[in-house]
């Protein structure tokens, strides 16, 4: 029983947490991919940037003597989401829109987004350094323990994890309502399906582009902040977070927000379950087994964790390039 609780803590919950982060990031990537038609490589660093904004606002709040039952950094996340969304629109105006209007091929936009990534990385490391930071500046994070009858090891959930689950659930519902019930949401889906037809029917594509960056930027900021709250703010995450997010996007089907959420959880769970040491689960039934249990029975060694999203990506590209939710193949 204790071993099973260990599995829940280190396998399932860990996977769901990182899965929610991937899902929040992948929603933005999939919207940009579907509506603006290019792979936005700067998304990982926008996440880091957003986390930094939250931290800065938290420090400002602390200096102003602000108190609340929530951690300061969580309060700071909401203004930071607005700032990040505005900056995302700014990036579009300065770097992507001129190229789009000049009729550049989509791949040139991908390249520009790489340039933006590098610029962001440079600025973040210039001002933030490269060391990891703790996001809880006012008080230590709370830890909730749930005792299960018959086991002395509790199920452990930390405060940021609870916030993350609630935030993800609220986001998914809100996103669903936005995309299916509001004018702008429907317009976004229309542009994603067929941009020319959408323009002919009188949809203002400019507004759609704005909405895309607002949603993408705000969710990226939230994902970055919540991820940093759970562990620590690491300025050098970039590719390590970006590749799983791209995998989640493609697995879910490009241009499919629900697919992105499903893909995010799928990739996150696969990642944590493949590095999980399955020997721990087998130990209790040792007498029933005909073979010796090796001390480590992880499917993939921890240092090769990045291979998991990559392998998922490859398998999807070979056998089902449209993704689970029948997205577009660009």
């Amino acid at each position: 029983m204790n071993d099973f609780i260990f599995f829940i803590n280190n396998g399932l919950i860990a996977g769901l947490i990182i899965g929610s982060i991937y899902a929040l990031g992948a929603v933005g990537v999939t919207l940009v991919f579907g509506i603006l038609r290019f792979a936005h490589f700067a998304h990982g660093d926008i996440m880091t940037m957003g986390a930094f904004f939250s931290l800065i606002i938290a420090y400002l709040l602390q200096a102003a003597g602000f108190h609340s039952i929530f951690a300061l950094v969580f309060i700071g996340m909401f203004p930071a989401m607005v700032i990040t969304a505005l900056i995302a629109i700014g990036f579009d105006r300065v770097f992507y829109k001129p190229l789009r209007e000049a009729g550049a091929r989509p791949i040139v936009l991908v390249m520009a987004s790489l340039g933006v990534t590098l610029m962001l990385q440079g600025v973040i490391r210039l001002f933030g350094g490269v060391s990891a930071r703790n996001m809880f500046i006012d008080r230590p994070k709370e830890i909730f323990q749930f005792h299960v009858p018959g086991a002395h090891r509790p199920i452990v959930l930390t405060e940021p994890e609870v916030i993350l689950f609630i935030f993800t659930a609220v986001t998914v519902v809100a996103l669903h309502y936005f995309l299916t019930r509001t004018r702008l949401g429907k317009a976004m889906r229309a542009v994603s399906d067929n941009p020319d037809l959408a323009r002919i029917t009188g949809i203002n594509t400019e507004h759609v582009v704005w909405a895309t960056w607002i949603i993408g930027g705000a969710l990226a900021c939230a994902a970055g902040t919540l991820l940093s709250m759970d562990v620590a703010l690491k300025p050098d995450l970039s590719w390590n977070i970006l590749l799983p997010i791209f995998a989640a996007t493609i697995v879910g089907g490009i241009g499919q927000p629900y697919g992105a959420i499903a893909g995010g959880f799928l990739v996150g769970l696969c990642e944590s379950l493949s590095v999980f040491n399955w020997a721990i689960l087998l130990r209790p039934i040792k007498p029933l087994l005909w073979f010796d249990i090796p001390s480590s029975l992880a499917i993939v060694p921890t240092q090769y964790k990045l291979m998991v999203p990559f392998v998922i990506l490859i398998i999807v590209l070979i056998y089902r390039p449209t993704g689970i939710f029948k997205g577009r193949v660009l």
């Binding site: 792979a39 770097f95 340039g115 440079g122 590209l317 660009l330």
Partner: protein, 433 residues
């Protein structure tokens, strides 16, 4: 047809020649300034490294310039090339050959081949009348089984080799053989990546190459049995006498001449290929895939071909670069120096123009090397006056942060060039038929 195409090739208009001449004359002046101000020992080193970068840039200009393929995993191909060249040319480790290690490796290769054949056969299962669904199950089972077999053997093998002899050591063959193998290994990896991604849009290729580069780096960092992992291997041999006895200028100049010879050979080959029917076909595919396909060109196959061809110079150039530094250190393979810098070189120089790639490589590399001291100097200046005027206390890791500023500059260069000079300094010659 072929004859007329070949005779046309020698007639670039005079304006293009003048422009190229001007650019290279300016470059020569810059190189001269570096020689005079920094001394010959340093300058020859910079030039030799710039020559290696020119090879990498030529590889990229094949992929991006000729065929519009977006490879951002150059670092991975370079690292794979460097590691394989190191394994071929480094002196042998006698302890390894005396241990049961070689046998384990032979068995490992046999198992790899067997698994590969099994997967291939499973994929062909419908030929013997197995239904599609059943085939899917079969392929999955075979994949899982091969994964278990390979990973178990690898765990045992790496443990065995690390405990008995440390690492497998090199083969002690000539360096030039190592460089050739570097090209072959890069080509094999490129074939596998391209086979999966090239049928799809180029964004997928970008994602896949980025991923494969990260994985190759992780593997090389952790494979202690194969490449000593992060312990680094040195000194790597040179094809010419090494500067071990103090003759830095002579040794480095000899190395530089080897680099230049290989670069010129590649350049001549590429010039010929560019103006040949083959090059024209590639540009046709790049500019209008559908039209090229309608003309009966096998687009996917051609793209795979050019992707593999472009990765060969990357493997070779990477091996040459690492051999020149004489130390193989997998932690030193970073995207910025070995992927994005090369992108800047190609788009600054002019994509699709071989002379442009060489110009861009030498120019950007010189700028890159002088940018480190300049960035440090600037930041110390800021720190000094900041302290004097407002009593600002600079952070202790100012130097490393100053060098991060170069990341910003590389990104800025990419976005600015794309927006204001998308064709680079030496644009691709316009075809006139």
């Amino acid at each position: 047809m072929v004859q007329s195409a070949l005779s046309e090739k020698n007639a670039p208009p005079a304006a293009e020649w003048r422009r190229d001449l001007l650019a290279f004359a300016a470059l020569a002046i810059i190189v001269l300034v570096v020689f005079v101000s920094q001394g010959a020992v340093y300058s020859v080193r910079v030039m030799a490294e710039a020559g290696c970068y020119a090879l990498l840039a030529l590889g990229l200009t094949i992929q991006w310039g000729y065929a519009g393929m977006f490879n951002i995993g150059i670092m991975g191909f370079l690292a794979a090339g460097a590691a394989s060249s190191m394994l071929i040319s480094f002196p042998a480790n006698p302890k390894f050959w005396a241990s049961p290690g070689p046998m384990l490796i032979v068995v490992f290769i046999a198992k790899l081949v067997a698994c590969g054949v099994a997967i291939w056969l499973a994929n062909k299962a419908e030929r013997i009348g197995i239904s599609r669904r059943l085939k899917g199950v079969l392929v999955t089972l075979v994949l899982i089984a091969s994964f278990i077999v390979i990973s178990r053997h690898m765990t045992r093998m790496s443990h065995e080799i690390e405990s008995t002899s440390g690492w497998i050591g090199g083969l002690g063959l000539p360096v030039l053989v190592g460089w050739a193998v570097a090209g072959v290994v890069a080509a094999i990896i490129a074939w596998a990546v391209g086979k999966i991604c090239l049928g799809l849009r180029s964004d997928y290729l970008a994602i896949a190459t980025l991923g494969i580069a990260a994985i190759i780096k992780t593997f090389l960092k952790n494979a202690d049995w194969l490449t000593r992992g992060t312990l680094t291997v040195s000194p790597l041999p040179w094809p010419v006498p090494t500067p071990a006895n103090g003759h830095f200028i002579l040794a480095r100049s000899l190395y530089l001449s080897v680099v230049v010879v290989i670069m010129v050979l590649l350049y001549l080959l590429l010039q010929r290929a560019y103006y040949a029917p083959w090059g024209r076909m590639m540009r046709a595919i790049r500019d209008n895939e559908d039209a090229a396909e309608a003309m009966g060109k096998d687009v996917t196959k051609r793209r795979l071909q050019i992707f593999v061809l472009g990765c060969i110079p990357m493997g070779v150039g990477g091996a040459m670069l690492i051999h020149f530094a004489q130390i193989y250190d997998p932690s030193a393979f970073v995207d910025l120096n070995y992927t994005f810098l090369i992108w800047v070189m190609v788009i600054v120089g002019g994509a699709g123009n071989n002379r442009g790639a060489i110009f861009g490589a030498v120019f950007v590399y010189i700028v890159w090397t002088v940018s480190a001291p300049i960035a440090l100097w600037l930041f110390h200046l800021v720190a000094y006056y900041g302290h004097q005027w407002v009593g600002w206390q600079p952070p202790s890791d100012l130097d490393s942060r100053a060098l991060e500023m170069r990341v910003f500059v590389v990104g800025l260069a990419i976005t600015l060039v794309l927006r204001y000079a998308p064709r680079g300094v030496l644009p691709e010659p316009q075809a006139r038929h």
